[in-house]
Subunit: 311 residues, 4 copies
C-alpha cells in the first residue's frame, strides 16, 4: 500500500502521541533516539503521531531542523499510523511552508494553534483561518492551548471554522472541561469532526462521554497504558477505567511535577525517556535538561512506575 | 566612510522609529513605499531606525521577507543613521540566523524580546541570554513587551544581563513607569547602558528624568514632532515640552484608537501612512487593513493633525 | 428531631443548589419569592442548599440582609435538608461573624473561598486557614473560584488544609478538570472529604469517576433534572447519563448565554425564575436585571426547555 | 472654625498619605500608635490623609473597626488637613454606610475603587457609579487599582463619571503612565478634576507634567521627603527633583522589597514604622507581620535611610 493511499479516519479516534523531539544539541536531532522512540510508540499500539507540537518543542526549533524531523519521522513511520504535523506559527507564510513540507513527506494531517504574538480578536482569527485553509494541502486539526498561545479559539469560532474545507477536528489542551463539553454540543451535528482531548488526566472522561480520542504526552513513555485506558473507556468498562486512570494520574503526579517551573512536564518527560534508554534528554532553549538532583528524582519515579529500560 | 566604521553611541540617545513594514501583500514588500518611508523618516531628523519590531509586524512575516527587508533597509539608509534589527524569536537558532543577516547587511545593533511561546522562569531567561549573547555578532538591546510576549524581563534580570558582553540597552514598552524607574535605579552605575522608552506617550517624562531616548511609532508619520519633543525635553524647556506632548497625545488618541481591537495602533498607523501617500496599508495576517469606514475616520484625523500628503 | 441533631453526611453527596437570593430591591429580600424558591428546590429532591455563594450574589449584599437571609432560610428549611452558608469575605472577622450567625440559625456547614482583595501566597492562605478554622463553629467546605477571587487554593494547599479540624470538603468551580482530578488523587486516603463539582456541565463526569456531588445553579430552576442526572451517574447508567447531560448542556447554552457580559449566568437564571413565577429578577449592583430584549429571549428559552410556570 | 466649614480644594493638590492602620491584633486598633502616626504625618506638612485604602488594609478589617478608625482619625485630625475615607466595597449598601459614617465623623471626601468580586463591564460600572453617587454625602474620588480589584475604570468611564455630581477626582495606582496621560488629555477641559498619582515612584513626573498631587505610602514614614519633592516639582526645580526622586526610589527599593510576596510593601512599611517607634506592626489576615529575619533587614534599611526613631 502506498503512503498516499492512507486514509485518515473521520473522525480520528484513539490515542495520539505528541512526540518529544529527541535532540543532541539545539540544532541536531538525536536520530538514533528518534528511531527508537517511534518504534517504541508504534509497538505500544498508538493510533497516531503528532510531531512539532508543544511537547515536541516546535517553537524552539529551527525551521531547518523541523523540516528534517518531518522527513525522518514520515520515512520511519512508513504509513503504519497517521502522522500529524504542527504548523502553528506567528507567520501565515511559514505555516503554509511547513504544511507543504508535511504533504511532501507523506504526513496525513496538520495541526494549528492560533498565531501567538499579536492579540487578534475572534473575527480576525476566523478570517485568518478562512485565508489559511485555502492554502493548506492537508486536513487540519485546530488546537486550543490558551496557557501558551494566550489566544483562545472560542467555541463559536471553532464551530464556524468547522465548515471551512479541510478542517477536520480540534485538539483541546485547555484543561477547561466546560469548553470541551460546549464544543461537543455545538458540533453534535457534525459527527465526522474529531474531538481530541489534549490533557491525559481527562482522557477517560472525554471518551466516556463522547470524545473521540486523546493526545497524551505520557504515551511517549508508556504507550500501552493510554491505549488500554482508551479501550476500556470505549467499552464503558468503568471498573477498568478507574484502575488505569489512577495509573495515569500517578505518572502525571510524578514525572510532570519535578522542578520549579511550568516546563516541568517537558523536562520530566525527556528525562524519563533518557532514564529508560530511549532518547537524549537535551532541551532547546529557553529550557535545559534536568540537572543531577531532579534527574535522580525522575529516575526513582521511573522505577516506581515499573517502566523497563530498553536494551 | 565605510558602513562598518559607524559607531553606535553609548548610550544610544534620541528618537528611534519602530518602522512599519510596507507590504503589497502578505509576502511582498512595497519597495517603493519602503524607500519613501525611510527618506521621510531620515528627513525628519530621526536618530535611529528599528526594523522588525512589533510595529514592523515581524512575527507575521516570512523569514525570506525579513531578510529581504534587512538588506533593503540597510542599503537605503547607507549608514546615515543606525539601523537596529529585531531578532525576537521563539527559536534560539533563528534569532542567531537573523542577527547574522543583520550584521552582513551592515546593521548596527539588534533587539530582542523574550521568546514568547514557552513560559520560562527568570533564571531560565537569564541562562538563555547568557547562551545567546555568546552567539550574537552585534550589540544587543533587550526589549520588554509583556502585553505581547507575556514574559517579562524583570528588572533584576535586566541588571544581571547588562553585564553580559554586548548587551547595551533596554527598550521598555510596558507602559509601566514604575518598572522603568526601577531599571534606572538599578542601572545608575552603568551610564553607557541605554534606557529607551517604548511608549511615545511617555517620551517627555522619560527624557526629563534621565532616560536616553524613545522608540516612537508615531514618528513613522510625523518624525519632526518627536524629535522636537525630544530636544525640548533634553533642554528642560518644560513649556515647550507641554505643548509638544499634547500634540503627541492628540495623535495617539486619534490614529491609534480607531476600530475594536488591540491592533488599532498598527492598523491606524499604516492607514495614515497610506493616506499621506507614503506606503501601502496592507497588513499581514492575522490582521487586515482598515476597511472603508475606519479608513475615512483616519483620513479625517490626518487632516486635523495637519499632515501634508507627499506628492 | 431537633435541628442540631441533623448530621452532615461524610462525605456530603448529591446535588447542592447554590441558591439565588430573591430581592425586591438592593436591600430588601423578596420574602414570598424566597419561600416559593426553597419549596420548589426541596420538592425537586435536592440534597443540600448553599446560600450566600456567587450565585447568591453574597458579595453584593449588605451584612444586615445576609443575616436576615440566613435566618429566614434556616427557618423555612427546618432541617429538611442541610443548609450551607457562604462566609467568604476579605475580612477574617466578618467571616467569623457570618459563621456564628449561621450556627445560631441552625445551618449545618459553611463555605469559604480565598479572601479576594489582597494577593496572598499559598503559605499565607494556609496560615489564614489555620487561624480561621480555630474560630469556626461549623464544618467548613473550601471553595475554589479563581475567575472571581483570582486566588487559587492550590491542590497541595487543599490537601494540607484537609487535616485542619472541621475542614470537610471542597467545591471546585474552576472548570479546570485536571485540578479536580489532582485533588481526588491527593485526597484518596481521606474518603470522608467531600469533592463537589461546582460546574453543572461537568456534574456527570465528576460523579462517574469518583466525585461525591455537584453544586448546580440550574437546579434553582429545574431541580429534578440535576437529581436525576446525579442518580443516573451514581448507578453508572451511561445511556441515561448521556441523555440528561444533553439537557443540562441545553439549559446552559440557552439560559446562561444571553447578554454581553460574564454576569449572563446570574442574570439569565434570575430572569428565568421570574418568568416561571418563582421570584423577582432584581439583581444587586453592579448588575441589573435583563431589560426587555433579553427578557424575551429568556422567556422563549424557558418555554423550549418545557419548564412550567408556578401558579 | 467648625469642621464643616473646611473647604476641599478644587482640584485637591499636594501629598496625600494612604495611612496604614495601626493594629494591636486583628480587631483592635493601636490607639496610641494611631495618634503618634497622625501627628507624625501632620508635622511633616502633608496635605491630606486617606484612610481605609489598600495601604490601610481596609478590606481585611471588620466594619466595626473601620467605623472606630474613621471616628478616631477625624477627631484627632480636627480639621487640620482633609481626611479622605475609602468606601470601596463589593456591596453598594455597605459603601453607602461607610460614606455616612465618614460624613458624620467630619471627613471631607470619600474614595472608591470598583467593586472587586464580580467582573462587571464598563457600562455596568458607569451605571453603578450613577446610582451610587446619588446616595453619597461627600465628594468622591475614583480609585484605579487594577492589580487588586482586577476591574479597571477605563479612561472613558472616568470621563463620563466626572460629570456626575460630586465626582471630584481620580487616584490612579496602576503604574500605567499611559493611562494617566490619557486621563489628563480626556479631562483637560475640567480643571477642577483632581488627578492624583497613586505610585510614589511616579510622583515627580506626574506633577512636572500637570498632575495635581500624589498618594504616597512612604509618606507614612518620611512625610517631609514627599512634600519636598512635591514642592520641587511644582516649582519645576529639576535638579532638586532629581535628588529627591532618587531618595524616594531608594526607600522604595529597600522598604518595599523584602520578603517573597506582593504584600512586601504593606509588611515593610508597617515594620519600618514599628522600628522607629511610631506604631505596632501587626497585620490583619491574610497577612502577618515580618518575622525576625525580615525584621532585621528592614531595621538596617531604616538606619541607612537615616530615619530617626521617635522617643
Amino acid at each position: 500500500m502506498e503512503k498516499d493511499s492512507y486514509k485518515l479516519m473521520k473522525p480520528l479516534r484513539g490515542i495520539v502521541v505528541p512526540m518529544v523531539t529527541p535532540l543532541l544539541d539545539r540544532d541536531t536531532l538525536d536520530a538514533a533516539g528518534l528511531e527508537r522512540l517511534i518504534e517504541h510508540i508504534i509497538a505500544g499500539g498508538i493510533h497516531g503521531l503528532f510531531i512539532l507540537g508543544t511537547t515536541g518543542e516546535a517553537p524552539s526549533l529551527s525551521y531547518r531542523l523541523r523540516y528534517e524531523l518531518i522527513k525522518r519521522v514520515c520515512d520511519q513511520v512508513g504509513g503504519r499510523i497517521p502522522v500529524l504535523v504542527g504548523i502553528t506559527d506567528t507567520s501565515f507564510v511559514e505555516s503554509v511552508n511547513i504544511s507543504r513540507k508535511a504533504k511532501d513527506a507523506g504526513a496525513q494531517a496538520i495541526v494549528l494553534a492560533p498565531p501567538y504574538y499579536f492579540p487578534a480578536g475572534q473575527s480576525e482569527l476566523l478570517e485568518y483561518l478562512d485565508h489559511l485553509t485555502r492554502e493548506l494541502p492537508l486536513p487540519l486539526f485546530l488546537y486550543n492551548m490558551p496557557s501558551y498561545t494566550k489566544l483562545v479559539f472560542e467555541p463559536e469560532t471553532i464551530r464556524a471554522a468547522s465548515e471551512y474545507p479541510g478542517v477536520v477536528g480540534i485538539k483541546d489542551s485547555s484543561g477547561n472541561m466546560v469548553y470541551f463539553r460546549q464544543l461537543q454540543s455545538l458540533l453534535k451535528n457534525n459527527p465526522d469532526f474529531s474531538l481530541l482531548m489534549g490533557r491525559e488526566e481527562l482522557l477517560a472522561e472525554a471518551i466516556l462521554l463522547g470524545g473521540h480520542g486523546s493526545v497524551c504526552g505520557g504515551a511517549n513513555l508508556m504507550p500501552e497504558l493510554y491505549v488500554e485506558l482508551y479501550n476500556a473507556a470505549c467499552s464503558k468498562d468503568l471498573q477498568k477505567v478507574e484502575v488505569l486512570h489512577q495509573k495515569v494520574m500517578k505518572l502525571s503526579a510524578a514525572i510532570y511535577k519535578v522542578g520549579r517551573y511550568e516546563s516541568s512536564l517537558l523536562k520530566g518527560l525527556k528525562c524519563a525517556l533518557s532514564c529508560v534508554g530511549i532518547c537524549n534528554d537535551f532541551l532547546a532553549e529557553p529550557f535545559h535538561r534536568f540537572r543531577r538532583a531532579e534527574h535522580e528524582v525522575i529516575e526513582q519515579y521511573v522505577k516506581e512506575l515499573g517502566i523497563n529500560p530498553k536494551k
